[in-house]
Symmetry: C2
Subunit: 221 residues, 2 copies
Amino acid sequence: MSAERSAHQRIHREVGEPCLSAKYENPCRGTPLVVFISCDKLFFSTTNMHLTYYDLTIPLLAKNLKNVQSVLAKGWEAAQASQMSETAFLDQRLAEDMFPLIKQIQMLTDTAKATPARLTGREMITLEDTETTVGELNQRIDTVLAHLETYSPEDFSESAERKIELKFLEGQFQYGKDYLMDFALPNFFFHCTVAYAIIRVQGVQIGKIDYIGSLSLHPLT
Amino acid sequence: MSAERSAHQRIHREVGEPCLSAKYENPCRGTPLVVFISCDKLFFSTTNMHLTYYDLTIPLLAKNLKNVQSVLAKGWEAAQASQMSETAFLDQRLAEDMFPLIKQIQMLTDTAKATPARLTGREMITLEDTETTVGELNQRIDTVLAHLETYSPEDFSESAERKIELKFLEGQFQYGKDYLMDFALPNFFFHCTVAYAIIRVQGVQIGKIDYIGSLSLHPLT
């Protein structure tokens, strides 16, 4: 009798009737074995069927913050080549009543610092909106990148059910899962895209790959 | 002895030494009980500590496609009020060498149809890029929305490890997890944001909330 089958039978006896609907799915194939027992089913699976809240915040935010730094550097290089002042470069915007580049980068770093803090209940770092140069904006992004590295996957164990209060949602809250998907991720990518577009529309030679950044690739065999 | 503790001890005996490092995390609190057994740890947890590939594709894509429909409707209403032709409206772009609104919507629907198809190995629906009107673009979005509804969470059980081949990655592939986070999600939100921005820069009275859409809220008690 396989170890899996044996474990199944023991657990079956332990939890009783609800496991009569037990089934095997995704039998272990070299990846760590996990046995799930829920109220109405039991099955073997692998640990990587799911994404964690850590996966969807820390590495995702960090990678895209670095992409923003790269886009910002290319934009600033082109601006300098065309004798544009640093102030004028950072004050560019898509429309008169939209926020300028400097504010877009302040906002996307705000989202990047706030998302894991809210999902974990940890205190948020303070970022004063006092930047006036490209160097200071890069420093702000570096500060957030360093802060993101202080989180561990275990910090997010309660994220799904955490009640997230946002100041514009008076008297209401979002559960962590909804906050991440309804608001945090779309909002973060919004400001990354607008920052990219502000630079792109000036004719700077950047393309989608600068926004997307590097891809984790493997050779086809 | 609690049922949890009893189950733990049985499983401990079953799987032997690796479980000496067993620990309890997130003891069951009214949500379905799940027992995890991995190579080096065992703990009780709840089923919603993680996000599924289904969560991160089907409802997320559907919600944001509907947001795009709403933004498109407001933009077209304003364009009609200012006597702009439908062709001119759909040909607007952020810069001469960027894609127009019509193409942005074709591309974001392409991403929305391709992401779950690639993650599940299901065949992709065909969308001919023949739209020339707002009505036809809305129909295209509706087609993708209806297609998204045909997926079930079980379809994504192999997504993490699925080898995703993209035509611009000759001889290489991405694992499903990397594809989703490196490429699919950022790319989808890129085109949603650019479509929004194209309409926004024309002075149409839309704001971030039109891009974000409705939030799942609960009253604070």
